[in-house]
Each structure stands twice: as C-alpha cells, then as structure tokens.
C-alpha cells in the first residue's frame, strides 16, 4: 500500500477541515460555497443509482463506491432511486449542488436507447451532467431454448415467421439489438416484451418464446448448465467469458449493442473536485477486489475517461438513431 502516507495526510487534512467547518459553522452561510480541490471532500459523497437495489447496476455502484470511499477518506453511500429507467435519479443529481458530493451512476442505455422509445420529459441527455469516468461493459447475448433446436443465426433465419422472441422491455438494448438484427437478416418473429431479464429467460427455458436477448450475467448459469443455447453476442468483439460464441458483427450484421456504465457529476463541478474524484475512482478500479468483482459478474472493463465516454455514447446514440431510421424500426408503437 504505497499510498498510505498520502491517505493519512489526506485524512488529517479532512479532519482539520471538518473541525474548521464545525467551528466556522454559523458564519459561513453567505460565503463562497464552491469547494476547491484541497478541501474536498468535506462530507460523505452520495452515489445515486437509478435502479433498484440488488440489480447489476446497483452492484457495480456498490463495488465502485467501496474503493472510492477508501481513497477519498469519506463514506460513499449508494442511494437507490429507481424510476423511469434511471431518468429520475439522473435528473435529481443533475439538479443538485455542483460541489462533487452528489454523483450518479449512469447506464448508457438511458442516454442512447431510451430516448428512441419514450417521450421528451423522460429522456435524459449527456448535456445535463458531466461524465467523470467510464466503468465497464455488460454484453447482451441472444439465447434459444433447447426444444427449438436453434443454434445459429442461420437457424433462426430458417425459422423466420414461426417463432417468437422475448425482450427485456421497450426501449432496452435487448429490444434494440434483436429488432435491428432481425431487420438486417430479414427475419420475422413475434416480439414479446417482458419486464426484465429473468422472466424473459424463464420463458425461454419453458420454450414459451424460442429466443430472447438478455445480459450475459443473467444468462451464463443457464448457458453453462446447457439449458439454453447461446446464439450470438452483440458486442463488437467476442466476449472473453463466451469465447466460442460469435458476435453479430462478425456474422456480417451491424448491431453493436452493449450496456455501458459510467459515473457522472452535475454540470459545473469545479475542475479540482473532478480531478480528485477521478483519482479516487481510478484507485477503486485498480483495486484487486474490484477486478475480482468484474470477473465474477462477467463484466468487461471499459475504464475510459469522461470525455471519451461522452464522445462514445453520443456516437452510439447517433448510430442507433440512424439504424432505427434506416430500417424503419419503432421501439415504441
């Protein structure tokens, strides 16, 4: 732990600032509220998650917060504010004080896919927040039931018109990936939306729908048990946890859909504060515990800078928009 002296100094500094803040309390009301890098953080940093506790987004937030809080020397509680795919949480943090004490964990789909399906009041854009750090990539895999006998995209193509497929809901990557793939491969099937990944997987297990696209983490146990057959992964490159399953891209289809996650702060957060936060997140991502967490949850690291995240997600959003227009797909009716 080569960082220990630094951390101790930091802890000391925090303690001093806290003491100062305490003594200075009453007279500080009209003062300059903007925190500078040195006396940040002065209080716990809240990481808000737009999904319910226990889901994969929540687990990622908790894993990151643990490491970052250790580096920052203040607690980093994870607060779940589920609603509207995460729009509720994001809007709330976007409106919070830009002092670095309120952060949000973003799902890329909220920015890139959801706006294709919902009204304007629910859509969130990257202009509302400043992305600090990219975290990881969570791949979608299309699985088929054993009874269906489907093993490849070709098989699905031959079954065109005779099967139904499950999605994890309207405006999700699962829906987008499948509809685009089926349009490009000229496959027709009946779309059956489910509430989330687990009921969609259950429906495939019971052959109520013949295929469904869900996140790898959810599908992996049943794939390993041989209960469902993996057909295609929607990432650009093969997933390291499913090396034998082809990607849609290498099969000749232009469907690069995955779930990405990143942390963001409200617009106008001071540069020093952002730097300090990024430093803390970098430390968290470098920890062994976090890397193990990624592996256990079949997440591929995608630890890029905030600027890169913003560029990448904006590009993805445009690309999805183009694809949807090109194939005349409407996610919502």
């Amino acid at each position: 732990m080569h960082k220990t002296p630094f951390r101790q100094a930091l802890l000391g500094a925090t303690a001093v600032t806290a003491a100062l803040a305490l003594t200075a309390c009453g007279g500080n009301v009209g003062g300059n509220a903007q925190a500078s890098g040195e006396d940040f953080p002065t209080e716990p940093v809240t990481l808000t998650v737009g999904q319910a506790a226990g889901g994969s987004t929540d687990l990622i937030a908790r894993a990151v917060a643990e490491g970052a809080s250790e580096d920052l020397g203040v607690p980093m509680p994870v607060v779940n504010k589920p609603g509207a795919n995460g729009a509720l949480a994001t809007q709330e943090v976007a409106g919070a004080a830009a002092d670095g004490h309120d952060l949000v964990l973003l799902n890329a789909s909220l920015i890139t896919i959801t706006p294709l399906a919902v009204g304007e009041e629910e859509a969130v854009s990257l202009d509302d927040v400043e992305v600090l750090k990219g975290l990881s990539q969570d791949d979608y895999v299309m699985v088929a039931s054993k009874e269906s006998g489907l093993k490849t995209v070709e098989d699905v193509k031959n079954a065109s018109g005779t099967f139904s497929y499950g999605t994890t809901g309207v405006g999700t990557g699962s829906q987008l990936a499948q509809t685009i793939l089926f349009e490009q491969a000229e496959i027709t099937g009946t779309e059956v939306p489910f509430d989330s990944g687990s009921p969609a997987l259950t429906a495939v297990l019971g052959n109520q729908v013949q295929v469904a696209t869900i996140q790898l983490g959810e599908a992996k146990p049943q794939i390993d048990a041989g209960e469902v057959v993996p057909i295609v992964v929607f990432s650009e490159e093969r997933n390291e946890f499913l090396p034998d399953v082809p990607t849609a891209v290498e099969s000749g289809y232009d469907v690069p859909v995955a779930q990405y996650r990143a942390v963001a702060a409200p617009n106008g957060t001071p540069q020093e504060v952002k730097d300090r936060l990024v430093e803390a997140f970098d430390a968290a991502l470098a920890s062994e515990a976090y890397q193990q967490f990624n592996e256990q949850n079949l997440l591929t690291p995608r630890e890029i800078s905030g600027e890169e995240v913003e560029a990448e997600w904006t590009e993805l959003a445009e690309r999805y928009q183009q694809l949807v227009e090109e194939y005349d797909i409407s996610l919502a009716e």
């Binding site: 319910a52 506790a53 226990g54 889901g55 607060v79 779940n80 504010k81 589920p82 609603g83 509207a84 729009a87 509720l88 809007q91 399906a117 919902v118 009204g119 009041e121 629910e122 139904s164 809901g169 309207v170 405006g171 009946t190 779309e191 059956v192 939306p193 489910f194 509430d195 687990s198 009921p199 259950t202 429906a203 297990l205 019971g206 109520q208 729908v209 996610l331 919502a332 009716e333």
Partner: protein
C-alpha cells in the same frame, strides 16, 4: 427421498443466530399486535416493511412471516379473556372462548387454542414442504397463458370468497385494477395516466399503496373508534387442558387443520374465513349444537387451529407460483421484491436457502409461540392499556419514515398519505382494502401476461385451452363463476343437509356464520 435434502438444509439456515433472533422478534411482534385490536398483521407488516430492507432476504421474510402467524396466537388471548377479538380471525373464538373464561376455564381455552394453533400450523408446514416441490416441478410449464388464467381465477376468488359485502369487494377490486394501469405501457412505451409526471412513469409502486391503505388508513380509523377501557381480564389458571378436554378437542383440531390448510391456499381465502368456516363446521357436526356459544371446547379448538393452518398454507401460492392469496401475502410479495427476489415457480430451485429457511422457520416459530403464549399472557393484556392517542402518532411516524427510506422518494411519502386517506375512507364506509390491494397486484400480472399470451398465440384465444394447465385453471374459473347458480339449484333440490364435506357444506357454513355474527 432426495428432495428432502434441501428441506433439511433449510434448518441450518434457520438455526443461524441472526435468523433465530429475527424469528423470535417476528413472533413476539406478531403476538403483540395480535393482542391489540385494530392493528392487524397486514398493517404491521406494511409499517415494518422498510425496516427489513437492510437485512438478508431470508431473515426479513422469516421475521415478517413470524408476525403473520404470531398474530393468530395473540388474537386469541384477548378474545378469550376480554371478549375483544384482537384479530378478525379470532372473532369466532369470542363466542365460546369468553364463555369458557366466565366459567373459570380461561386457562383451558387458551391452552387448547395454543395447542390447536401449533398442530394446525405444523400440519400446514408439512403440507407446504411436500406440496411446494411438486408445484415447482411444473415451474417451466408456467408461461404467460398459465399466469393469465391464474390471475383471472385469483381476482374472481378474491371478490367472491372475501368476507364482507361482495359488491363492495368487487368495487374495491375494480379500483385496484384501474390503479394497476397507471404507468408506461410495457408493450408500446405509451404513457398511461402519468400526466407527464416522471414519478409515475413506472406505475404506482405497490409498497406505498399497501403502507397507506393498511398502515396509515388503519391508524386513522383506529383513532376515530372509541376505545373501551380495558376490563380486568379473567383469571388464568390451569393452562394445561385436562385429558377429557383434549379428547373432546382432538377431532376439531384435526378437522380444523385440514380445512384451514385448504382454505388458506385458495386466493381470497386465509385465516379469517377458515376460522369462521371451522366454527360453522364444528357446530354443524356437534351432537348437541346448543352447547356452542356456551363454552364448547370445540368452538375454540376448531377455529384457532384452522386460522393458523390457513395463515401458514397461504404461503404456498406465493412461494410456489408468485401469486399472493391474501392481502398479507401481497405484502410478503412486496417484501420479496424489495429484496430483489421475484417469487415464482423457480424460487424453490433458485433460492433453496430462502425457501426452506422461511418454511422451516415456521416450525421454530410455532414452538416459540407455544412456549411464550402462556406465560406472557399477563404482559400482553397490559399492553392493551396503551392509549391509541399515544400508539397512533408513533406508528404513523414510523410508517412515513419507512415510506421514504424504500426509494428515498418524497413522492412515495405523498402516495402513502394519499392512500392513507383513501384507506381510512374505505374502512369508514365499509370497503375492505384487501381486494383493492390484491387486484392491484394481480391486475398488472393479468394484463401483461394476457397480452404476452395473445402475442404468442398470434391473437388466437383458443390457445389458452390448448395448454393443459391454463385450460384446467380456466375451467376452474368457469366453475367458480357458476358456483352460486349451482348452489342455489342444489339448495332447492336438497331435502336434508347431510353432506358435511365439499362445496355444499361451504355454502351452509357461510349462512351459519351470518347467524352467529
């Protein structure tokens, strides 16, 4: 007996100190609120729901389950000693229990009730242990069509079996169905009744609705009720019933266990109905029915056994199918969802520790209750002296704090207050909130699964009848819907009421309950 292995493993989960502690906590709270008239298990679970957020799922459900069956024990005490039923499911116990207390046999009545409750509860757990894996074996055959049929049957049963005014129950259920339509249409993404409010985009959350209707609504309603000052309770002595009493009660305990078990499984059934049905059945079977209402041991043993058996067996549809049978189970459903566990046919296989941990905790909980119920009677009776003016605000505060902590949302708090007002008005005007909450839960299940099925069937309705399970369930639905007609036809034809078992008996049960009430 391979399938028993996970069941036995469940005991190691229960015997963890934390789980034992929460089990004890649950049954103690259950007995406590069982003693307090007005505050029922549904309200208590609604209020305490957010507090379970921080503990392991299995621990949380063990505690909440303990509250539910613990309340069935507690309700008996005040029924017998004070002629004040603590729970709706102990109302019929008043008839003979209080008379026994007046005759100086309060101890015997409580002892018999405790033993009966223990037997009933245990029989139901054993039934649950063997039935659940059986149902779970069909897990993968349960697709959208089966859920559609099940939800349909559930809503019908809720409205027809529930106690109280049928048309009011139906109205409440319809309101619940309407509430279930709020939010984004999950098939088209279209907004329904959200009025542009992002908070409503995912629909109305079940938990604040339940906390408002059961928790806050109940508290408000209680404050309005004029409280009788607690009378000095009858003296309790000689808790262990004599051999003669036991012999006399054993038949009732046996019958109550079976009746309660089956009525508990039915959607819309549960502890209250089965206690009433058991009382009616005992009275009907008795050689000298005139003893009933004058301190007949069977009149205490039957209902008290049945309500506990039903409280336990109502876990079966929830844990094996994900369908809540009554309002309290709807809250358990909510509790599981908060914990990230979706109850359904796959629960036994996917979460064996949770499933068997909860089931087996009921054995332990029942033993704890049997041990505690007798010596603690005095303490519980004293709790009745806490004034509603003190109890009400405290519980209201806990409710609102809890509502906030689930989603950290002020909007949810507003919802609780709103539904608290609705719940209060409903109670005041004789509407039960139970059917509303159940229809609310089943409504979204029904809608999404019906639409999913029709997508799979490509719009062909006959598809429902081509699948064995959904066809059977739909036939059952038609049968239940036609039952009132069949019953009235039978009643006209019947000359002598000689059939104690089966459907016709249930009908006569209901009429005799009315006579008693």
């Amino acid at each position: 007996m391979d399938f028993l292995q996970p069941a036995l493993d469940g005991f190691s989960v229960v015997l963890e100190p934390t789980n034992l502690l929460y089990c004890l906590l649950g049954v103690t709270i259950g007995m406590l609120i069982g003693v307090l008239p007005g505050l029922g298990p549904a309200a208590t679970i609604a209020i305490l729901l957010p507090l379970t957020y921080g503990v392991e799922p299995v621990t949380a459900i063990i505690m909440l389950a303990g509250i539910f069956y613990g309340a069935q024990y507690g309700g008996t005490i005040t029924s017998v000693l004070l002629r004040l039923p603590g729970e709706a499911s102990s109302v019929v116990t008043v008839f003979d229990g209080y008379m026994m207390a007046k005759q100086g046999r309060a101890g015997t009545a409580l002892g018999i009730a405790a033993i009966g409750s223990f037997v009933g509860g245990t029989v139901a757990i054993i039934g649950l242990t063997f039935l659940a894996p059986l149902v779970a074996g069909f897990a993968l055959d349960f697709g959208p069509p089966e859920y559609t049929a099940l939800a349909l049957l559930g809503i019908l049963l809720v409205a027809t079996i529930s106690n109280g005014n049928k048309s009011k129950a139906l109205i409440a259920a319809c309101f619940g169905l309407l509430l279930a339509t709020v939010g984004r249409d999950i098939f088209t993404g279209g907004e329904r009744f959200t009025f542009g409010n992002v908070n409503l985009a995912d629909g109305i959350d079940f938990v604040p609705v339940a906390m408002g209707l059961f928790g806050l609504g109940e508290i408000l309603h209680n404050l309005e009720e004029r409280h009788r000052a607690a009378k000095a309770p009858a003296k309790v002595s000689n808790v262990w019933p004599s051999g003669a009493d036991l012999r006399q009660a054993s038949g009732s305990i046996g019958r109550g266990s079976v009746l309660g078990f089956f009525l508990g499984i039915l959607p819309g059934g549960g502890a209250t109905i089965s206690s009433m049905a058991a009382y009616a059945m005992e009275k009907k079977r008795a050689k000298r029915p005139e003893r009933f209402g004058r301190g007949a041991v069977e009149g205490v043993a039957g209902p008290e056994t049945a309500n506990n058996a039903a409280a336990t067996s109502s876990f079966i549809p929830l844990l094996t199918l994900g369908i809540p049978a009554n309002a309290t189970m709807a809250l358990m459903f909510g509790a599981l969802l908060i914990q990230g566990v979706t109850p359904g046919p796959q629960l036994v296989q996917q979460e064996p520790e949770l499933f068997w941990g909860v089931v087996n905790s009921m054995y332990i909980g029942n033993i704890l209750l049997l041990i505690m119920s007798i010596p603690l009677i005095g303490v519980f009776v004293r709790i009745l002296r806490v004034r509603a003016a003190i109890l009400g605000p405290i519980t209201a505060l806990i409710t609102l704090l809890g509502a906030y902590t689930i989603n950290n949302s002020m909007f949810d708090v507003t919802l609780v207050v709103l539904f608290g007002a609705i719940g209060y008005l409903m109670k005041k005007y004789g509407f039960e909130p139970g059917p509303l909450v159940l229809a609310f839960v089943l409504g979204s299940l029904l809608e999404s699964n019906l639409r999913r099925s029709l997508l799979v069937f490509e719009g062909d309705v006959t598809g429902f009848f081509a699948r064995p399970i959904s066809a059977t369930l739909l036939l059952l639905f038609l049968l239940v819907a036609a039952l009132p007609l069949i019953q009235s036809a039978l009643r006209r034809r019947r000359t002598r009421g000689t059939s104690p078992e089966g459907m016709p008996a249930e009908d006569s049960d209901r009429t005799s309950v009315k006579e008693n009430a």
